[in-house]
């Protein structure tokens, strides 16, 4: 029988620890495929964050380094400045990037640091058990907002992509989703464009990927995909805010 699917070599031969139905795995694969297709597998450095993706350096088949919670952009800055010719990317959740690490996020963009951020927004703190995030939706029930009152962002969830696109320098900022095949293909294109920006030295790039957390959303995998589409996308509109895919 003809082999019609091969796993990209950019993903290590190991099982991941992600929950069944979680879209972290899909996003890993898209990133890995892009790095392989761009021919930079052997010169990439992954910067992990603290969240469910804390072990991402075990999955991306390249050199990897951990970061303290929220500090991946600072760690990536240190790595990139020492190896400007390498492809350096962070992989961060929304609690990591938009709460504790917001200062690092804004300033890495303001410095127009030539790195790529893969920002996985699932509107919740996954790893610590489903607490409210700065991206949680109004009325969303989390383990720290059990009556659905989101106290962290009374004015509405923080829209990081829109916010960062106010900064002049960055080359690419976009928001994508992975809730169906069509959107996965678009997501992959955006991720490819972001890495191209880095490889061509055009400056900072970030792709915000809307993602599911079936476990903490208290939904099945399929319900989660629908919930993402029906609830997250209206709040977090998709598209390129800076430098769309070419």
């Amino acid at each position: 029988m003809a082999k019609n699917f091969t796993k990209t070599e950019m993903l290590a031969d190991t099982a991941t620890h992600y929950c069944p139905g979680c879209t972290h795995g899909i996003i890993h694969r898209l990133v890995a495929e892009v790095l392989e297709e761009l021919g930079v597998m052997d010169r990439s450095i992954a910067v992990a964050s603290v969240g469910c993706s804390v072990l991402s350096y075990d999955y991306f088949n390249c050199d990897g380094i951990e970061s303290a919670h929220g500090r991946a952009p600072a760690v990536a800055t240190g790595v990139k400045r020492m190896h400007p010719d390498k492809v350096v990317f962070t992989y961060q959740g929304d609690g990591d990037l938009a709460s504790i690490g917001m200062a690092e996020t804004v300033h890495v963009a303001a410095r127009n640091e030539n790195i790529t951020i893969i920002f996985v927004n699932n509107a919740i703190y996954g790893m610590t058990g489903g607490q409210m995030a700065p991206t949680s939706l109004p009325g969303m029930v989390t383990t720290t907002t059990q009556d659905g009152k989101i106290s962290m962002n009374e004015s509405g969830p923080i829209k990081v992509s829109e916010m960062l696109s106010q900064i002049d320098g960055p080359a690419h900022i976009s928001r994508v989703s992975v809730h169906d095949i069509k959107h996965m293909i678009k997501a992959k294109n955006a991720i490819k464009e972001a890495f191209k920006c880095q490889i061509e030295g055009r400056g900072f790039s970030m792709v915000e990927v809307l993602s599911t957390c079936p476990i903490n959303w208290n939904k099945t995998a399929e319900e989660s995909l629908h919930w993402l589409k029906d609830n997250m996308i209206p709040t977090f509109p998709l598209g390129a805010f800076k430098g769309g895919a070419k």
Partner: protein, 356 residues
């Protein structure tokens, strides 16, 4: 050739001469000259990186990244900034990354003040951040020594793969003294195969497998083993790296114990009282972590009383008590808030001890 130099400049120039190629910092008095000097000189070095970070938190994490990438790097700060760096320092220790952290100590707690103090001793020598780790901490007492120890600190950091610290009070940072900064380029002496360099791993080559720099071990047995490995390293440091100066302690009735600027005050007081016929020695720890416990006990074995002098409420005092194991009476002279104990205060303490 010796030049008249401010301590902060001497530390910065010594770092550059030691092959430091990354400086990440945030302004805070009284260390500002250091970051300013680096902003001018570091970009002139081949591959030299200077970043004024958005915070001390970001700065120490840039150090983490750049050190993890294999470079010889540093940060500097004071008081509140050092408090912010503690999580990052714990990560450096956990991931076994070399780096130099400079603390030009000001008075605390809180915003405190910008005058000299030695109140960050506990933070520097007893952990500061979370988890079981130690730093190799050097406490210079002159501008020349600050420059020399900066270079040594880089070398030892790479050798042991651990963060090291220069713990200097603001007098050392701000004062001008004749100093010769030596050239010491040892960048190639350490083979950092463990670093993340974004190069292909090849079985049979020097880089057998891809590099992963981390402090996370989810398996308790592995983490226990990792901690034991760190403790063995700290034991080797304690065995091999202790530095101290014992001045006229052999026949002393009274041994003064102090580090940094306080030690200079003690030397003045010792000189005054010796002329009055008192037998006074000065013991000065140069490494405060590891502490010269047995060396102090030995040096003070013949004395009648030990006097500890600090610009703090008495932090090193605890280590002196540990060292002396109750064998001698110990008294304390200290001021806080940016006030230095005066030589006459120490002279009084010596006279009082002499009467007893």
């Amino acid at each position: 050739m010796k030049k008249l130099m401010k301590g902060n400049f001497a530390i910065a120039e010594a770092a550059i001469q030691a092959g430091c190629r990354g400086f990440f910092g945030y302004p805070i008095t009284p260390q500002n000259e250091l970051i300013e000097y680096m902003s001018v000189e570091m970009p002139k070095q081949d591959g030299g990186v200077f970043i004024q970070a958005e915070s001390e938190v970001a700065a120490i994490n840039m150090v983490f990244g750049a050190s993890g990438a294999g470079a010889r790097v540093m940060t500097s700060s004071s008081g509140p900034g050092l408090s912010l760096k503690q999580e990052g320092i714990s990560f450096l220790a956990g991931a076994e990354l070399p780096a130099l952290i400079v603390n030009i100590m000001r008075a605390g707690p809180g915003l405190g003040g910008i005058q000299p103090a030695q109140a960050d001793y506990f933070q520097a020598t007893k952990g500061g951040g979370h988890g079981d780790y130690s730093l190799l901490v050097y406490a210079p007492a002159s501008v020349q020594e600050a420059a020399d120890l900066t270079q040594k600190a880089f070398d030892r950091a790479d050798y042991y793969r651990m963060p090291t610290m220069i713990l200097a009070d603001a007098v050392i940072g701000q004062m001008m003294e004749p100093c010769e900064v030596k050239s010491m380029d040892t960048r190639s002496d350490f083979d950092k195969v463990w670093a993340v360099t974004g190069t292909k791993a090849e079985p049979g080559s020097k880089k057998e497998k891809r590099s992963i720099v981390k402090s996370l071990f989810l398996n308790p047995d592995e983490l226990n083993d990792h901690n034991k490995k760190l403790q063995r390293k700290y034991q080797a440091v304690a065995k091999n790296e202790v530095m101290f100066e014992a001045d006229s302690c052999e026949d002393a009735d009274i041994v003064l114990v102090a580090y940094g600027t306080s030690a200079r005050i003690c030397k003045s007081a010792a000189k005054i009282t010796r002329e009055l016929g008192y037998k006074v020695g000065v013991f000065r720890p140069i490494t405060v972590s590891p502490y010269p416990y047995s060396q102090l006990k030995e040096a003070a074995s013949g004395c009648k009383e030990v006097i500890v002098v600090e610009m703090s409420a008495g932090q090193m005092l605890l280590d002196v008590k540990v060292a002396m194991e109750g064998s001698k009476p110990i008294s304390f002279v200290g001021e806080m808030g940016g006030i230095m104990p005066s030589p006459s205060q120490v002279v009084e303490a010596i006279k009082k001890a002499g009467r007893e």
